[in-house]
Protein backbone atom coordinates (compact mmCIF):
# COMPACT_ATOMS: atom_id res chain seq x y z
CA UNK A 1 0.00 0.00 0.00
CA UNK A 2 2.69 2.44 1.05
CA UNK A 3 4.57 1.54 -2.12
CA UNK A 4 1.48 2.11 -4.26
CA UNK A 5 1.00 5.49 -2.60
CA UNK A 6 4.61 6.44 -3.27
CA UNK A 7 4.36 5.33 -6.86
CA UNK A 8 1.26 7.46 -7.26
CA UNK A 9 -0.85 4.45 -8.19
CA UNK A 10 -3.39 5.37 -5.60
CA UNK A 11 -4.08 8.46 -3.50
CA UNK A 12 -4.37 8.49 0.26
CA UNK A 13 -7.91 9.81 -0.10
CA UNK A 14 -8.89 6.84 -2.27
CA UNK A 15 -7.16 4.38 0.03
CA UNK A 16 -8.73 5.91 3.12
CA UNK A 17 -12.15 6.01 1.48
CA UNK A 18 -11.87 2.34 0.53
CA UNK A 19 -11.19 1.45 4.16
CA UNK A 20 -13.99 3.70 5.39
CA UNK A 21 -16.29 1.89 2.95
CA UNK A 22 -15.13 -1.45 4.28
CA UNK A 23 -15.80 -0.26 7.84
CA UNK A 24 -19.29 0.85 6.80
CA UNK A 25 -19.85 -2.54 5.24
CA UNK A 26 -18.56 -4.93 7.92
CA UNK A 27 -18.25 -3.12 11.22
CA UNK A 28 -21.86 -3.69 12.21
CA UNK A 29 -20.83 -7.35 12.54
CA UNK A 30 -17.30 -6.93 13.86
CA UNK A 31 -17.79 -3.84 16.02
CA UNK A 32 -14.11 -2.97 15.98
CA UNK A 33 -14.72 0.79 16.07
CA UNK A 34 -16.25 3.02 18.72
CA UNK A 35 -15.89 6.13 16.60
CA UNK A 36 -15.08 6.64 12.94
CA UNK A 37 -13.71 10.07 12.13
CA UNK A 38 -14.71 10.21 8.46
CA UNK A 39 -14.16 13.92 7.98
CA UNK A 40 -10.95 14.10 9.96
CA UNK A 41 -9.49 11.08 8.19
CA UNK A 42 -10.34 12.30 4.71
CA UNK A 43 -9.01 15.77 5.51
CA UNK A 44 -5.75 14.31 6.76
CA UNK A 45 -5.54 12.05 3.69
CA UNK A 46 -6.14 14.99 1.37
CA UNK A 47 -3.48 17.02 3.12
CA UNK A 48 -1.01 14.17 2.70
CA UNK A 49 -1.87 13.83 -0.99
CA UNK A 50 -1.28 17.55 -1.38
CA UNK A 51 2.12 17.30 0.31
CA UNK A 52 3.04 14.41 -1.96
CA UNK A 53 1.88 16.30 -5.01
CA UNK A 54 4.02 19.24 -3.91
CA UNK A 55 7.01 16.91 -3.89
CA UNK A 56 7.56 16.95 -0.13
CA UNK A 57 9.65 14.20 1.36
CA UNK A 58 7.24 12.02 3.28
CA UNK A 59 7.65 9.25 5.79
CA UNK A 60 7.37 5.63 4.53
CA UNK A 61 3.83 5.19 5.88
CA UNK A 62 2.55 8.61 4.80
CA UNK A 63 -1.05 8.40 3.63
CA UNK A 64 -1.73 4.93 5.03
CA UNK A 65 -4.87 4.77 7.20
CA UNK A 66 -4.74 3.53 10.79
CA UNK A 67 -7.09 2.49 13.59
CA UNK A 68 -6.31 3.94 17.02
CA UNK A 69 -7.12 2.19 20.26
CA UNK A 70 -9.59 4.36 22.14
CA UNK A 71 -7.21 4.67 25.08
CA UNK A 72 -5.13 7.35 23.33
CA UNK A 73 -6.20 10.98 23.50
CA UNK A 74 -6.76 12.72 20.20
CA UNK A 75 -7.68 16.38 20.37
CA UNK A 76 -11.38 16.95 19.73
CA UNK A 77 -12.13 13.29 18.98
CA UNK A 78 -14.28 11.30 21.43
CA UNK A 79 -12.04 9.22 23.71
CA UNK A 80 -13.66 6.78 26.14
CA UNK A 81 -11.16 4.04 27.06
CA UNK A 82 -14.17 1.78 26.63
CA UNK A 83 -15.87 3.28 29.67
CA UNK A 84 -19.22 4.91 30.30
CA UNK A 85 -17.53 7.27 32.68
CA UNK A 86 -15.80 9.01 29.77
CA UNK A 87 -18.63 8.78 27.24
CA UNK A 88 -18.76 11.97 25.21
CA UNK A 89 -15.43 13.34 26.45
CA UNK A 90 -13.38 15.10 23.80
CA UNK A 91 -9.78 15.66 24.95
CA UNK A 92 -8.34 19.15 24.51
CA UNK A 93 -4.93 17.69 23.70
CA UNK A 94 -3.16 15.09 21.55
CA UNK A 95 -1.26 12.16 22.97
CA UNK A 96 2.38 11.95 21.88
CA UNK A 97 1.56 8.84 19.84
CA UNK A 98 -1.08 10.81 17.93
CA UNK A 99 1.34 13.68 17.46
CA UNK A 100 3.91 11.22 16.07
CA UNK A 101 1.34 9.63 13.76
CA UNK A 102 0.42 13.08 12.43
CA UNK A 103 4.08 13.96 11.98
CA UNK A 104 4.39 10.83 9.84
CA UNK A 105 1.19 11.68 7.92
CA UNK A 106 -0.43 8.44 8.97
CA UNK A 107 -4.19 8.87 8.58
CA UNK A 108 -6.15 8.27 11.79
CA UNK A 109 -9.54 6.79 10.81
CA UNK A 110 -11.07 6.32 14.21
CA UNK A 111 -11.02 4.85 17.66
CA UNK A 112 -11.19 1.12 18.31
CA UNK A 113 -13.06 -0.85 20.91
CA UNK A 114 -11.37 -2.22 24.00
CA UNK A 115 -11.98 -3.69 27.41
CA UNK A 116 -12.88 -0.88 29.77
CA UNK A 117 -9.65 0.91 30.77
CA UNK A 118 -7.78 -1.96 29.08
CA UNK A 119 -8.80 -4.39 31.79
CA UNK A 120 -9.57 -7.66 30.13
CA UNK A 121 -8.53 -10.24 27.59
CA UNK A 122 -11.62 -10.42 25.42
CA UNK A 123 -13.00 -6.91 24.78
CA UNK A 124 -16.19 -8.16 26.41
CA UNK A 125 -15.60 -5.64 29.19
CA UNK A 126 -16.19 -2.69 26.88
CA UNK A 127 -19.07 -0.55 28.09
CA UNK A 128 -20.11 -0.28 24.46
CA UNK A 129 -20.56 -3.97 23.65
CA UNK A 130 -18.08 -6.66 22.58
CA UNK A 131 -15.99 -6.83 19.43
CA UNK A 132 -16.28 -10.03 17.39
CA UNK A 133 -13.41 -12.06 16.00
CA UNK A 134 -13.48 -11.85 12.19
CA UNK A 135 -12.37 -15.52 12.02
CA UNK A 136 -15.54 -16.54 13.83
CA UNK A 137 -17.97 -13.86 14.92
CA UNK A 138 -19.11 -15.90 17.92
CA UNK A 139 -15.62 -15.73 19.35
CA UNK A 140 -13.66 -13.08 21.21
CA UNK A 141 -10.98 -11.05 19.36
CA UNK A 142 -8.76 -11.00 22.42
CA UNK A 143 -8.25 -8.03 24.62
CA UNK A 144 -7.93 -5.49 25.76
CA UNK A 145 -7.12 -4.26 22.26
CA UNK A 146 -9.59 -6.53 20.47
CA UNK A 147 -10.89 -3.66 18.37
CA UNK A 148 -7.50 -2.85 16.87
CA UNK A 149 -6.68 -6.46 15.98
CA UNK A 150 -10.16 -7.23 14.67
CA UNK A 151 -9.97 -4.13 12.46
CA UNK A 152 -6.76 -5.50 10.92
CA UNK A 153 -8.13 -9.03 10.43
CA UNK A 154 -11.38 -7.70 8.96
CA UNK A 155 -9.42 -5.55 6.48
CA UNK A 156 -10.96 -2.42 7.95
CA UNK A 157 -7.52 -0.93 8.54
CA UNK A 158 -4.00 -1.92 7.48
CA UNK A 159 -2.38 -0.51 10.62
CA UNK A 160 -3.46 -0.08 14.19
CA UNK A 161 -2.18 1.11 17.56
CA UNK A 162 -2.57 -1.01 20.66
CA UNK A 163 -1.43 -0.82 24.25
CA UNK A 164 -0.09 -3.72 26.23
CA UNK A 165 -0.17 -3.91 30.03
CA UNK A 166 -0.28 -7.67 30.41
CA UNK A 167 -0.64 -8.83 26.81
CA UNK A 168 -3.28 -6.52 25.36
CA UNK A 169 -1.43 -6.15 22.04
CA UNK A 170 -0.01 -9.65 21.73
CA UNK A 171 -2.94 -11.80 22.80
CA UNK A 172 -5.43 -10.11 20.42
CA UNK A 173 -2.83 -10.38 17.66
CA UNK A 174 -2.48 -14.10 18.39
CA UNK A 175 -6.18 -14.88 18.29
CA UNK A 176 -6.86 -12.80 15.15
CA UNK A 177 -3.87 -14.00 13.10
CA UNK A 178 -2.18 -10.59 13.04
CA UNK A 179 1.13 -9.13 14.23
CA UNK A 180 1.38 -7.15 17.46
CA UNK A 181 4.43 -5.75 19.21
CA UNK A 182 4.89 -4.52 22.74
CA UNK A 183 8.13 -2.53 22.61
CA UNK A 184 10.49 -2.16 25.57
CA UNK A 185 8.86 -0.14 28.36
CA UNK A 186 9.70 3.50 27.70
CA UNK A 187 10.24 3.11 23.95
CA UNK A 188 6.91 4.72 23.05
CA UNK A 189 5.74 7.71 25.06
CA UNK A 190 2.84 7.13 27.44
CA UNK A 191 1.85 10.79 27.38
CA UNK A 192 -1.83 10.80 26.44
CA UNK A 193 -2.25 7.06 27.02
CA UNK A 194 -5.06 6.77 29.55
CA UNK A 195 -3.27 4.96 32.33
CA UNK A 196 -4.28 1.53 33.53
CA UNK A 197 -1.07 0.44 35.24
CA UNK A 198 1.64 3.03 34.80
CA UNK A 199 4.64 0.79 35.38
CA UNK A 200 3.38 -1.83 32.91
CA UNK A 201 1.52 0.09 30.16
CA UNK A 202 3.22 0.36 26.81
CA UNK A 203 1.83 1.31 23.39
CA UNK A 204 2.92 -0.49 20.26
CA UNK A 205 2.24 -1.25 16.62
CA UNK A 206 -0.34 -3.70 15.25
CA UNK A 207 -0.19 -4.75 11.61
CA UNK A 208 -0.72 -7.64 9.20
CA UNK A 209 2.96 -8.30 8.67
CA UNK A 210 6.26 -7.82 10.47
CA UNK A 211 7.63 -5.11 8.18
CA UNK A 212 4.53 -2.92 8.52
CA UNK A 213 4.76 -3.32 12.27
CA UNK A 214 8.40 -2.25 12.16
CA UNK A 215 7.62 0.82 10.07
CA UNK A 216 4.85 1.81 12.46
CA UNK A 217 7.12 1.09 15.44
CA UNK A 218 9.69 3.48 14.04
CA UNK A 219 7.02 6.14 13.48
CA UNK A 220 5.64 6.16 17.02
CA UNK A 221 8.72 5.39 19.12
CA UNK A 222 11.29 7.83 20.46
CA UNK A 223 12.18 9.97 23.41
CA UNK A 224 9.51 12.26 24.81
CA UNK A 225 10.37 14.79 27.50
CA UNK A 226 6.75 14.73 28.64
CA UNK A 227 7.09 11.14 29.83
CA UNK A 228 9.67 10.80 32.62
CA UNK A 229 9.94 7.06 31.96
CA UNK A 230 10.72 7.56 28.28
CA UNK A 231 14.01 6.10 27.02
CA UNK A 232 16.41 8.80 25.93
CA UNK A 233 18.25 6.82 23.25
CA UNK A 234 17.92 6.25 19.51
CA UNK A 235 15.10 3.94 18.39
CA UNK A 236 16.50 0.46 17.64
CA UNK A 237 16.93 -0.44 13.96
CA UNK A 238 13.66 -2.34 13.75
CA UNK A 239 12.98 -1.70 10.07
CA UNK A 240 16.44 -2.88 9.04
CA UNK A 241 15.91 -6.01 11.14
CA UNK A 242 12.47 -6.67 9.65
CA UNK A 243 13.90 -6.37 6.15
CA UNK A 244 16.82 -8.66 6.96
CA UNK A 245 15.23 -11.60 8.76
CA UNK A 246 18.64 -13.24 9.00
CA UNK A 247 18.72 -15.52 12.06
CA UNK A 248 21.80 -17.55 11.24
CA UNK A 249 23.68 -18.29 14.43
CA UNK A 250 21.05 -16.61 16.59
CA UNK A 251 20.27 -18.41 19.82
CA UNK A 252 16.58 -18.86 20.50
CA UNK A 253 15.59 -19.91 24.00
CA UNK A 254 12.39 -21.84 24.43
CA UNK A 255 10.90 -21.10 27.82
CA UNK A 256 10.39 -24.42 29.52
CA UNK A 257 7.67 -23.06 31.84
CA UNK A 258 5.55 -21.56 29.05
CA UNK A 259 4.69 -24.72 27.18
CA UNK A 260 3.10 -27.97 28.20
CA UNK A 261 0.21 -28.50 30.56
CA UNK A 262 -2.67 -26.12 29.99
CA UNK A 263 -1.60 -25.35 26.42
CA UNK A 264 -4.04 -26.45 23.72
CA UNK A 265 -2.61 -29.23 21.51
CA UNK A 266 -3.00 -27.27 18.27
CA UNK A 267 -1.19 -24.35 19.88
CA UNK A 268 1.70 -26.65 20.75
CA UNK A 269 1.75 -28.21 17.30
CA UNK A 270 2.06 -24.86 15.56
CA UNK A 271 4.64 -23.67 18.08
CA UNK A 272 6.85 -26.76 17.53
CA UNK A 273 6.51 -26.38 13.79
CA UNK A 274 7.64 -22.75 14.00
CA UNK A 275 10.68 -23.75 16.02
CA UNK A 276 11.63 -26.24 13.32
CA UNK A 277 11.32 -23.58 10.64
CA UNK A 278 13.53 -21.23 12.63
CA UNK A 279 16.07 -23.98 13.12
CA UNK A 280 16.03 -24.60 9.39
CA UNK A 281 16.63 -20.88 8.84
CA UNK A 282 19.86 -21.23 10.79
CA UNK A 283 18.89 -20.38 14.36
CA UNK A 284 20.04 -22.45 17.28
CA UNK A 285 17.15 -23.60 19.45
CA UNK A 286 17.89 -24.16 23.13
CA UNK A 287 15.77 -24.56 26.21
CA UNK A 288 15.84 -21.96 28.97
CA UNK A 289 14.18 -21.97 32.32
CA UNK A 290 12.41 -19.16 34.16
CA UNK A 291 11.32 -20.67 37.45
CA UNK A 292 9.66 -17.55 38.81
CA UNK A 293 7.32 -17.06 35.84
CA UNK A 294 4.75 -19.13 37.65
CA UNK A 295 4.31 -16.24 40.10
CA UNK A 296 3.99 -13.63 37.39
CA UNK A 297 0.22 -13.83 37.09
CA UNK A 298 -0.30 -13.43 40.83
CA UNK A 299 2.11 -10.49 40.99
CA UNK A 300 0.47 -8.90 37.98
CA UNK A 301 -2.97 -9.14 39.55
CA UNK A 302 -1.64 -7.18 42.51
CA UNK A 303 0.50 -4.56 40.78
CA UNK A 304 -1.92 -3.66 38.00
CA UNK A 305 -4.98 -3.33 40.27
CA UNK A 306 -2.97 -1.34 42.82
CA UNK A 307 -1.78 1.16 40.27
CA UNK A 308 -5.18 1.32 38.60
CA UNK A 309 -6.95 2.00 41.89
CA UNK A 310 -4.89 5.18 42.07
CA UNK A 311 -4.87 6.04 38.35
CA UNK A 312 -8.64 5.79 38.09
CA UNK A 313 -9.28 7.97 41.14
CA UNK A 314 -9.36 11.01 38.85
CA UNK A 315 -12.67 9.86 37.38
CA UNK A 316 -14.70 11.61 40.04
CA UNK A 317 -17.36 13.64 38.16
CA UNK A 318 -15.75 16.96 39.11
CA UNK A 319 -13.86 18.15 36.01
CA UNK A 320 -14.95 15.95 33.10
CA UNK A 321 -16.88 12.86 32.22
CA UNK A 322 -20.04 11.42 33.65
CA UNK A 323 -21.79 13.00 36.66
CA UNK A 324 -24.54 11.10 38.41
CA UNK A 325 -26.67 12.08 41.38
CA UNK A 326 -26.07 15.83 41.29
CA UNK A 327 -29.44 16.67 42.77
CA UNK A 328 -30.38 19.47 45.16
CA UNK A 329 -28.46 19.05 48.38
CA UNK A 330 -26.23 16.21 47.18
CA UNK A 331 -22.63 16.30 48.38
CA UNK A 332 -19.55 16.05 46.19
CA UNK A 333 -18.69 12.83 47.94
CA UNK A 334 -22.03 11.19 47.20
CA UNK A 335 -21.87 12.34 43.57
CA UNK A 336 -18.41 10.81 43.28
CA UNK A 337 -19.62 7.51 44.68
CA UNK A 338 -22.76 7.35 42.57
CA UNK A 339 -20.90 8.34 39.42
CA UNK A 340 -18.21 5.75 39.95
CA UNK A 341 -20.83 3.12 40.67
CA UNK A 342 -22.69 3.93 37.46
CA UNK A 343 -19.69 4.73 35.28
CA UNK A 344 -17.40 1.78 35.96
CA UNK A 345 -18.09 -1.76 34.86
CA UNK A 346 -17.84 -4.77 37.11
CA UNK A 347 -14.27 -5.79 36.21
CA UNK A 348 -12.99 -2.26 36.75
CA UNK A 349 -14.63 -2.06 40.15
CA UNK A 350 -13.28 -5.48 41.05
CA UNK A 351 -9.74 -4.39 40.27
CA UNK A 352 -10.07 -1.02 42.01
CA UNK A 353 -11.24 -2.75 45.17
CA UNK A 354 -8.50 -5.36 44.91
CA UNK A 355 -5.86 -2.66 44.41
CA UNK A 356 -7.23 -0.56 47.25
CA UNK A 357 -6.89 -3.60 49.46
CA UNK A 358 -3.39 -4.50 48.27
CA UNK A 359 -2.13 -0.99 49.08
CA UNK A 360 -3.94 -0.51 52.36
CA UNK A 361 -2.03 -0.17 55.57
CA UNK A 362 -1.29 -3.52 57.14
CA UNK A 363 -1.54 -5.35 53.80
CA UNK A 364 0.93 -3.43 51.64
CA UNK A 365 3.94 -5.60 52.45
CA UNK A 366 2.07 -8.87 52.04
CA UNK A 367 0.53 -7.93 48.70
CA UNK A 368 1.87 -4.97 46.76
CA UNK A 369 5.30 -5.19 48.35
CA UNK A 370 5.62 -8.93 47.71
CA UNK A 371 4.42 -8.50 44.14
CA UNK A 372 7.20 -5.99 43.54
CA UNK A 373 9.69 -8.51 44.81
CA UNK A 374 8.34 -11.12 42.44
CA UNK A 375 8.86 -8.55 39.74
CA UNK A 376 12.54 -8.46 40.65
CA UNK A 377 12.74 -12.27 40.51
CA UNK A 378 11.12 -12.39 37.08
CA UNK A 379 13.52 -9.76 35.78
CA UNK A 380 16.40 -11.84 37.16
CA UNK A 381 15.02 -14.93 35.37
CA UNK A 382 15.05 -13.01 32.10
CA UNK A 383 18.56 -11.66 32.74
CA UNK A 384 19.88 -15.14 33.37
CA UNK A 385 18.14 -16.62 30.34
CA UNK A 386 19.36 -13.84 28.07
CA UNK A 387 22.90 -14.72 29.02
CA UNK A 388 22.30 -18.01 27.21
CA UNK A 389 20.18 -16.85 24.28
CA UNK A 390 19.44 -13.80 22.15
CA UNK A 391 15.66 -14.05 22.25
CA UNK A 392 13.17 -16.16 24.14
CA UNK A 393 10.05 -17.69 22.60
CA UNK A 394 6.78 -19.26 23.65
CA UNK A 395 3.23 -19.60 22.44
CA UNK A 396 1.53 -16.22 22.89
CA UNK A 397 -1.56 -17.74 24.54
CA UNK A 398 -2.43 -21.15 25.93
CA UNK A 399 -5.49 -21.44 23.67
CA UNK A 400 -7.09 -20.09 20.55
CA UNK A 401 -10.01 -17.66 20.74
CA UNK A 402 -12.75 -18.77 23.12
CA UNK A 403 -16.38 -17.97 22.59
CA UNK A 404 -17.98 -14.76 23.77
CA UNK A 405 -19.45 -15.19 27.25
CA UNK A 406 -17.55 -18.41 27.95
CA UNK A 407 -15.31 -17.02 30.69
CA UNK A 408 -16.96 -13.78 31.64
CA UNK A 409 -18.18 -15.13 34.97
CA UNK A 410 -14.86 -16.61 35.99
CA UNK A 411 -12.20 -13.95 36.49
CA UNK A 412 -9.47 -16.46 37.32
CA UNK A 413 -10.03 -18.47 34.12
CA UNK A 414 -9.98 -15.19 32.18
CA UNK A 415 -6.77 -14.07 33.88
CA UNK A 416 -5.04 -17.35 32.88
CA UNK A 417 -5.15 -16.22 29.26
CA UNK A 418 -2.32 -13.82 29.95
CA UNK A 419 -0.01 -16.33 31.58
CA UNK A 420 2.58 -16.25 28.80
CA UNK A 421 2.42 -12.57 28.01
CA UNK A 422 2.62 -11.07 31.50
CA UNK A 423 6.29 -11.81 32.33
CA UNK A 424 7.37 -9.47 29.53
CA UNK A 425 5.44 -6.57 31.07
CA UNK A 426 6.74 -7.32 34.53
CA UNK A 427 10.33 -7.03 33.31
CA UNK A 428 9.65 -4.09 30.99
CA UNK A 429 11.16 -5.89 27.99
CA UNK A 430 9.85 -6.28 24.43
CA UNK A 431 7.47 -8.93 23.14
CA UNK A 432 6.01 -9.72 19.72
CA UNK A 433 3.24 -12.04 18.60
CA UNK A 434 2.95 -13.18 15.03
CA UNK A 435 0.71 -15.80 13.37
CA UNK A 436 2.04 -19.36 13.49
CA UNK A 437 -0.87 -20.91 11.60
CA UNK A 438 -4.24 -22.37 12.49
CA UNK A 439 -4.89 -24.91 15.21
CA UNK A 440 -5.93 -28.15 13.46
CA UNK A 441 -8.73 -28.85 15.93
CA UNK A 442 -10.64 -25.56 15.57
CA UNK A 443 -9.14 -23.84 12.54
CA UNK A 444 -8.37 -20.73 14.59
CA UNK A 445 -5.15 -18.69 14.59
CA UNK A 446 -2.27 -19.46 16.92
CA UNK A 447 0.26 -16.87 18.01
CA UNK A 448 4.03 -17.27 18.36
CA UNK A 449 5.66 -15.00 20.93
CA UNK A 450 9.18 -13.61 20.70
CA UNK A 451 10.73 -11.85 23.68
CA UNK A 452 13.86 -9.69 23.50
CA UNK A 453 15.95 -7.94 26.14
CA UNK A 454 15.17 -4.34 27.03
CA UNK A 455 16.21 -1.91 24.32
CA UNK A 456 16.94 -4.71 21.87
CA UNK A 457 13.55 -4.61 20.16
CA UNK A 458 15.16 -5.16 16.75
CA UNK A 459 15.83 -8.80 17.63
CA UNK A 460 12.09 -9.55 17.73
CA UNK A 461 11.77 -8.19 14.21
CA UNK A 462 14.72 -10.21 13.00
CA UNK A 463 13.25 -13.47 14.27
CA UNK A 464 9.68 -12.46 13.37
CA UNK A 465 10.67 -11.69 9.79
CA UNK A 466 12.51 -15.01 9.48
CA UNK A 467 9.58 -17.03 10.77
CA UNK A 468 7.08 -15.04 8.69
CA UNK A 469 9.08 -15.67 5.53
CA UNK A 470 9.40 -19.38 6.23
CA UNK A 471 5.67 -19.72 6.95
CA UNK A 472 4.74 -17.74 3.86
CA UNK A 473 6.82 -20.12 1.78
CA UNK A 474 5.12 -23.04 3.45
CA UNK A 475 1.57 -21.66 3.12
CA UNK A 476 2.00 -19.98 -0.25
CA UNK A 477 -0.12 -17.05 0.96
CA UNK A 478 -0.54 -14.99 4.15
CA UNK A 479 -2.60 -16.59 6.86
CA UNK A 480 -5.27 -13.92 6.60
CA UNK A 481 -6.05 -15.05 3.07
CA UNK A 482 -7.74 -18.02 4.72
CA UNK A 483 -10.10 -15.88 6.82
CA UNK A 484 -13.77 -16.50 6.01
CA UNK A 485 -15.33 -13.72 3.96
CA UNK A 486 -17.47 -11.41 6.07
CA UNK A 487 -20.91 -11.10 4.53
CA UNK A 488 -20.97 -7.33 4.73
CA UNK A 489 -24.10 -5.34 4.15
Amino acid sequence: MARALRAGEITSVALTQAHLDRIASVDADVHAFLFVDIQGALAQAAATDAKRAAGERLSPLAGVPLALKDVMTQKGVPTTAGSKILEGWRPPYDSTVVANLRANDIVIMGKTNMDEFAMGSSTENSAFGPTHNPWDLSRIPGGSGGGSSAALAAFEAPLAIGTDTGGSIRQPAAVTGTVGVKPTYGAVSRFGLIAFSSSLDQAGPCARNVLDAALLHEAIAGYDARDSTSINAPVPQVVTAAKSGDVKGLKIGVVKELNGDGYQSGVRTRFEESLELLAKAGAEIIEVSAPNFEYALAAYYLIAPSECSSNLARFDAMRYGLRVGDSEGASAESVMKLTREAGFGREVKRRIILGTYALSSGYYDAYYGSAQKVRTLITQDFDKAFQKCDVMVSPTCPTTAFTIGEKSDDPIAMYLNDIATIPVNMAGIGGMSLPAGLAPEDGLPVGFQIMAPAMADERMYLVGAALEAALLTKWGAPLLSKIPELSGR
Binding site: G186, A299, R350, I353, A366, K373, T376, T379, G428
Partner: protein
Protein backbone atom coordinates in the same frame (compact mmCIF):
# COMPACT_ATOMS: atom_id res chain seq x y z
CA UNK B 1 -6.46 -18.51 53.68
CA UNK B 2 -7.10 -14.87 53.01
CA UNK B 3 -10.61 -13.60 52.73
CA UNK B 4 -12.57 -10.41 52.88
CA UNK B 5 -15.81 -9.95 54.74
CA UNK B 6 -18.74 -7.96 53.42
CA UNK B 7 -17.74 -5.15 55.81
CA UNK B 8 -14.14 -5.22 54.59
CA UNK B 9 -15.40 -4.77 51.05
CA UNK B 10 -17.69 -1.97 52.21
CA UNK B 11 -14.74 -0.19 53.81
CA UNK B 12 -12.64 -0.59 50.66
CA UNK B 13 -15.54 0.70 48.55
CA UNK B 14 -15.73 3.74 50.80
CA UNK B 15 -11.98 4.37 50.43
CA UNK B 16 -12.34 3.99 46.66
CA UNK B 17 -15.49 6.14 46.55
CA UNK B 18 -17.68 3.55 44.87
CA UNK B 19 -21.27 3.13 45.95
CA UNK B 20 -22.16 -0.55 46.17
CA UNK B 21 -25.35 -2.45 46.61
CA UNK B 22 -25.67 -5.04 49.34
CA UNK B 23 -25.76 -7.75 46.70
CA UNK B 24 -22.52 -6.48 45.15
CA UNK B 25 -20.75 -6.26 48.49
CA UNK B 26 -21.59 -9.85 49.28
CA UNK B 27 -20.74 -11.25 45.86
CA UNK B 28 -17.43 -9.36 45.75
CA UNK B 29 -16.46 -10.65 49.17
CA UNK B 30 -17.01 -14.19 47.87
CA UNK B 31 -15.00 -13.54 44.71
CA UNK B 32 -12.19 -12.07 46.74
CA UNK B 33 -11.76 -15.22 48.71
CA UNK B 34 -10.83 -16.97 45.47
CA UNK B 35 -8.81 -14.13 43.98
CA UNK B 36 -6.81 -13.44 47.14
CA UNK B 37 -5.94 -17.10 47.41
CA UNK B 38 -4.53 -16.96 43.91
CA UNK B 39 -2.57 -13.74 44.32
CA UNK B 40 -1.29 -14.55 47.81
CA UNK B 41 1.12 -16.95 46.08
CA UNK B 42 3.51 -14.02 45.67
CA UNK B 43 4.35 -14.37 49.35
CA UNK B 44 5.89 -17.79 48.75
CA UNK B 45 8.99 -16.36 47.08
CA UNK B 46 9.07 -12.77 48.26
CA UNK B 47 11.89 -13.15 50.75
CA UNK B 48 13.52 -10.44 52.84
CA UNK B 49 16.60 -10.45 50.65
CA UNK B 50 14.72 -9.58 47.44
CA UNK B 51 14.67 -5.90 46.46
CA UNK B 52 11.27 -4.70 45.27
CA UNK B 53 11.01 -3.31 41.73
CA UNK B 54 8.83 -0.21 41.42
CA UNK B 55 10.03 0.88 37.99
CA UNK B 56 10.94 -1.51 35.16
CA UNK B 57 13.85 0.62 33.92
CA UNK B 58 16.69 1.82 36.14
CA UNK B 59 16.30 5.50 35.20
CA UNK B 60 17.31 8.25 37.67
CA UNK B 61 17.07 12.02 37.89
CA UNK B 62 14.78 12.84 34.98
CA UNK B 63 14.01 16.53 35.34
CA UNK B 64 12.45 19.33 33.37
CA UNK B 65 13.92 22.85 33.31
CA UNK B 66 11.89 25.44 35.22
CA UNK B 67 10.40 27.04 32.12
CA UNK B 68 6.80 28.13 31.66
CA UNK B 69 4.98 26.83 28.60
CA UNK B 70 1.51 27.96 27.48
CA UNK B 71 -1.39 26.59 29.49
CA UNK B 72 -4.69 25.45 28.00
CA UNK B 73 -7.18 28.16 27.11
CA UNK B 74 -9.72 28.48 29.90
CA UNK B 75 -12.44 27.23 27.52
CA UNK B 76 -10.35 24.15 26.78
CA UNK B 77 -9.68 23.54 30.45
CA UNK B 78 -13.39 23.72 31.19
CA UNK B 79 -14.52 21.97 28.00
CA UNK B 80 -15.27 18.67 29.72
CA UNK B 81 -16.78 20.15 32.88
CA UNK B 82 -20.14 18.70 33.86
CA UNK B 83 -20.96 22.18 35.24
CA UNK B 84 -19.13 25.48 35.32
CA UNK B 85 -19.62 29.03 36.55
CA UNK B 86 -17.43 32.14 36.33
CA UNK B 87 -14.59 30.22 34.64
CA UNK B 88 -14.54 27.73 37.47
CA UNK B 89 -15.56 24.12 37.77
CA UNK B 90 -18.86 23.92 39.58
CA UNK B 91 -19.11 20.96 41.94
CA UNK B 92 -21.66 19.84 44.53
CA UNK B 93 -21.20 20.98 48.10
CA UNK B 94 -18.01 19.68 49.65
CA UNK B 95 -18.48 18.14 53.05
CA UNK B 96 -15.45 17.84 55.21
CA UNK B 97 -12.75 19.97 56.59
CA UNK B 98 -12.35 23.63 55.91
Amino acid sequence: MSSLSRDDVANLARLARIEMSEEELVSLSHEFTVILDAVARVQEVAGQDVEPTSHPLPLRNVFRPDVVLPSLLTEEALSGAPAQEESRFRVPQILGEE
